[in-house]
Amino acid sequence: MSSRTCHTCGGTDIDVDQARGSAVCTSCGSVLEDNIIVSEVQFVEGSGGVSSAVGQFVSADGPVKAPQLGSGFHTSVGKESRAQTLQSGKRQIQQLGSQLQLNQHCLDTAFNFFKMVVSKHLTRGRKMEHVIAACLYLVCRTEGTPHMLLDLSDLLQVNVYILGKTFLLLARELCINAPAIDPCLYIPRFAHMLDFGTKTHDVSMTALRLVQRMKRDWMHTGRRPSGLCGAALLVAARMHTFRRTVKDVISVVKVCQTTLRKRLTEFEETPTSQLTIDEFMRVDLEQECDPPSFTAGQHKTKMQQLEHELTRKLDEVEGEISCYKNEIETELEKSRPKLRGIYAAYAREINPEDTEVLSSASDLEEVESEEAELQAATQHLTQDFLCQVMEEEVGQDRKTDGVRQKMGPEVEGGGALRQVAPLATILGKLTTTAPFDLQQTFDPSPEDDETERGVLDLDGIDDQEIEKYILNDREVQVKTELWMIQNAEYLQEQREKDERIRKEKEQGTYKEKKKKKSKKGEQVEALTAGEAIEKMLEKKKISRKINYDVLRDLNSRGGGSSPAHPPNTCAAHPPNTNTDAQQKLNRRRQRRSSGVNHELAANASIMGKRFHLLISTTTKKKKRVESQVQNPVTMTTTTTKAVAETSHDPEPHPTSSSSTAVPPTVEAEEEEEAEEEECVSALQLVGDYGCEEEEVF
């Protein structure tokens, strides 16, 4: 052993006893090491006379520390937590990977990815399962195995898009470029599942050719590869006279029936589909097709072109139409249904707006500009209307409206409401496409000032229109009733909750629902950092080996009471009890640590020895170590009562403390010293102070 110096006295003469496994300083007698670990290999005889070496294999993946080492998890031993994470990750990867039948190499790679992810802190805020699945999928993609994200989500019962999100993020963060999925990869796998017997290979090859053909025909961009595979396999199966229905295929391939049919239809439209089976196997057509969605788009544009032509013809006839329009308008006016309530108000508003629009005399700039826009853009409008007509006809029930809209912007149809919506959308479109915007109407300069002051710029805001948005009193009543009825359940819940809270408050058991659960439990009250550490250590009952006195000394005269020592000290204490402000701390401690009594009692004897050593070494008389609970062990009955009585008093003072504690402690110190020499019995002391002993050094 290397010669070390003793911590307490500085002596270099250290006696190492192998038998007892301890290292002791011969000058002061302090134990430097207990349970020295020897680096020898020991052999043990097992059953049948077989001798085996004692020990465990430690895996290369990081230290696997057994939890009984005694070191707490509170200190910055982050490595332990990290190792645990990695270990659990590895386990999960193995589990999931074996379900997917991945080989060991893939699993190792996945674990490497996982390690990278953990080191980049990307596991924070994500479920471990998702991260593991994403790592596995990354491996599948880089290795090119025929596993789909869908398989993983099936296993985990998680939405595939959530997994996809995690996967994309990890791939981006780790800068791993996963090669694009090739549908050809999936063919053998699906073919196998479809059970073709001996001809599986042939069918697969045919399906492969089909898929390649599809790729050239631009059917595969933007589509799920599994859908394409399904279609190809279906056709290939039929080509080889296997009867596989659509249902069989979709159960294997996991797409919807509609999708499969659509793929088949698209394929049908390609020229390749016209070939016979033999021709297909021999010949490969040169030409390529456009993607099916592109052709659909083309179809649309064609329709639009037709419409353009129509509109041109329409322009010619416009004059005629306008007089029809006027007639129709008058008819509609007569037959318009009476609108009630808010709608009436709204309808009334519409007309003045219209008239404003029509007439040139208007105060509001906004309306003027609208009018100007409308006038200037009539040609645009007709075209837009037609487009809208197209959409609406394709859509729903607005056919009649569409007809009316063709007449012109000023047409007021039956339901005033329906009219305004399309009007607004038209105007909306205009604001983007027309050369002048509403922007012109608003002064940019005052806005700057106002935004600073936060005052609302009322320019261009039509108050009348705003009024529409606010209901009058009677309407409010009606709405209130309706709302109450509608939300009766919710209101009921709220009322019950309030009552519950009130009752609890009365009973005094009301606890504010804590949103965050602090694992640490009660807050440790302490004035100084040192005190806090000691209290915490004491609570955790960490180590008997820490010399808390020295710890305390380090922090100078802080008010701390040393937590763990109480066990040691208390046992032997009769001579050393202190009174002082420490009592208060004691009390508190006592309450908390009542459960620990038994342990302490058991340790008392051991502690006693230790205590002696400690006493001899330390010269400091100062501090108060809290002795906690201890006492109950030695003096149960008497103390408890006394303690109970006095416990209340000090309570108020808990840590208010050290400051106030200091003066008393000064006095106490003197008392302590005196006591120490007197060797007052514990009972006596208890009688005096009604508290448990404290020790003094």
Partner: protein, 192 residues
């Protein structure tokens, strides 16, 4: 080869999202009961209010924060926001219009050619990503502009960005890349 043809390419803004603050606490119940076109969601704690002109839907929280969606231009969004604030003012709250900010702009654009997404992704590796299992479009993220472009194989684009200028710049940036991977058009097939 044409590089950016802004005039030839129609960038249509479909949605503008903006937020602002009223700097005062709002009583959602009052708004819900006294306003037209409002939907109250007490579980979530907000009120949805829809305006007709400009066509805007606003989510109003009791803290006074308001999000406006559905506008078709930045100015429209501002007008709508102001109108909304005016409406709240009339309801009796001491509303002030502050911290107006356009948060997101969504636009669509259409290329006259279709695009080979796999090639496009291969050429622009880390910036572009394409997962056919998840989404039919390839996503192209421009970091310094904070814009995201979704490219579909038909040639249509969806662009989102913090303001209209960024959106236009993004389209200009991505155009040459798309042009490289375009699919040469064959003769038009007859539509069955």
């Amino acid at each position: 080869m044409d590089s950016s043809n802004d005039d030839a390419l129609d960038i249509i803004i479909t949605n503008v999202v903006a937020t602002f603050r009223t700097r005062c606490h709002l009583n959602l119940r009052t708004i819900a009961l006294e306003g037209t076109n409002v939907i109250y969601k007490p579980e979530v704690g907000k009120v949805l209010m829809k305006l007709r002109k400009p066509k805007i839907t606003a989510s109003i929280w009791s803290s006074g924060k308001i999000i406006c969606t559905g506008a078709t231009s930045e100015d429209d969004a501002k007008v709508g926001a102001r109108r909304l604030a005016r409406c709240l003012q009339k309801l009796g709250f001491k509303v002030r219009f502050s911290a107006f900010k356009v948060v997101n702009v969504l636009a669509v654009c259409s290329m006259p050619f279709s695009i080979h997404l796999v090639d496009f992704t291969k050429n622009n590796r880390p910036i572009a990503s394409y997962e056919p299992e998840l989404h039919p479009a390839a996503t192209y993220r421009i970091k310094h502009l904070k814009a995201t472009i979704q490219v579909f194989s038909t040639g249509s684009l969806t662009v989102t960005g913090p303001n209209v200028q960024n959106v236009a710049t993004a389209v200009e940036q991505v155009y040459p890349l798309l042009f490289e991977c375009r699919k040469p058009l064959r003769e038009k097939r007859k539509v069955n």
